[in-house]
Subunit: 325 residues, 2 copies
Amino acid sequence: MTLTILGCGSALPTTRHNPTSQVLNVRDKLFMIDCGEGTQLEMRRARLKFSRLGHIFISHLHGDHCFGLFGLISTFNLLGRTAELHIHSPRGLEELMQPMLRYFCQQLTYAVIFHPFDTDRSQLIYEDRSLTVTTIPLRHRIPCCGFLFAERENPRHIRREMIDFYQVPFYLLNGIRLGNDYTTPAGEVIPCERLTTPAEPARRYAYVSDTLPLPHVVEQVKGVDLLYHEATFAESEQARARETFHTTASQAAEIASQAQVGALLVGHYSARYESEEPLLAEAKAHFPSTSLAYEGMQVEILSQAIKPLTEMWVQSSDVSLEPFD
Amino acid sequence: MTLTILGCGSALPTTRHNPTSQVLNVRDKLFMIDCGEGTQLEMRRARLKFSRLGHIFISHLHGDHCFGLFGLISTFNLLGRTAELHIHSPRGLEELMQPMLRYFCQQLTYAVIFHPFDTDRSQLIYEDRSLTVTTIPLRHRIPCCGFLFAERENPRHIRREMIDFYQVPFYLLNGIRLGNDYTTPAGEVIPCERLTTPAEPARRYAYVSDTLPLPHVVEQVKGVDLLYHEATFAESEQARARETFHTTASQAAEIASQAQVGALLVGHYSARYESEEPLLAEAKAHFPSTSLAYEGMQVEILSQAIKPLTEMWVQSSDVSLEPFD
């Protein structure tokens, strides 16, 4: 589970921060969260493969979270994509985008499928064999949700020597990996724990932007391995944060602390800050395991921790893509 | 008259080239030509003042030439712009953009005024005291026009000593600067040339993208000081150029040569080229005064020549803008 930050600025992009977008890699499937202007380019810079992206999750319909969709969809079309692209968002996006898509991508080589969700309650909006995505209702100026990405429980590891010793039939192994005990022909119950070693812990990543700080978020992100929380403002701008339905760095860190998350990443910085170090200092006072998000940042999400990866930002273009001019 | 290149890639943006946009500065008024995704950011990088921009000219409705409009208009709104913004384009843009603007910029602080033009004939689409803008009909896959920016004739300079010598009345001076001769009370005609020195030459800049190479373009850009012409492909891709309604570097240079322009700037490079040096070499074989456009390039347009200016690209944000988060 690897997270790449493509943009962590707020509504006004600056030369230091792009509008919001990030990509979560779960077993080589890419999941995009928000898609501000310029996202397709940042995805190339990060060497994330377009073909691995199947689902995009849009938190809310403000331009800095979705204006990059047009260029991205258009480029995929020029490159001859055939796989479906799924876009999950609060209601309204399809109606806004369809006239544009019909005009600018007249012969779309692939299907763009919109999945609107309600923002007033938490819902499961995606699941596959290894992952579920659940919405986190937020409170912003317009309907808005965060997202909780949770790996499914991994199967436990079979202890080969114990299976041999008890002569467990092969057809029972899958059940045992999922937690079943084994009852011998003689009626003896062999607990699963004796037959297996623990699975890798299932990891969870929570994305929370843009919102007022909310107590119910604490409940929903309890114990996640990594929490990304918006921290648009410093404490000195608390009134402005409230007025614009945003969170300060301290407030984000308090939520992380109360939720006992493994690590906190803050972003969605107001354009007014030339450096975000003061935001970091304010957050760390409440929650020491805080890091500042930055464009190109790549972290592996571990159990209750993150590990920074080598920056894979590149300057040269990926020209191996077959371009259409 | 200064030209800044914000983007000179083609449909597929790469990490080396942004989609098309450029800004022409004429006596401190900024005129934008095309507005691909990410243009607002490139404008900041180039330190071009948002408030100086009043008119945007869109050559055609392909995404790589107009997807940046949403972010730009939205950001101007967040910054509280009040001055009108005029968008000149082939028909259809207003109908596409209005639903988006209504949704994303609900309380627009300024008026966005669309001026559609027909692309089948050359038309004057803008004029002020110092400049005219005329369309250059092009031939692309969809309706498309280039633009000819022409400074008006500058008034000639009065030779003070001659005016005094002939005792020319003050109220006649404006007419003499514009070319009138002076007739003395005795009936002697004093030619304008004796009373004045020549004006600075009026400069002309022609923008031609995207198109098949066209003979009538030669006529319309005859003798301009600077011609920007698309050169999407190298000569080896001539068939592909024809098929996609584009021009090769040699063809662009032939047009420049036939039109006897002062200088040629080529751009709109296909994403397939890792370096554009071969395109430059091919163009120079036909027209030596050719340069490659690149992001951040800034040139002053002189009489039949260009002068490169110091690169004004910056890494730090212009945070003096009052941001809204």
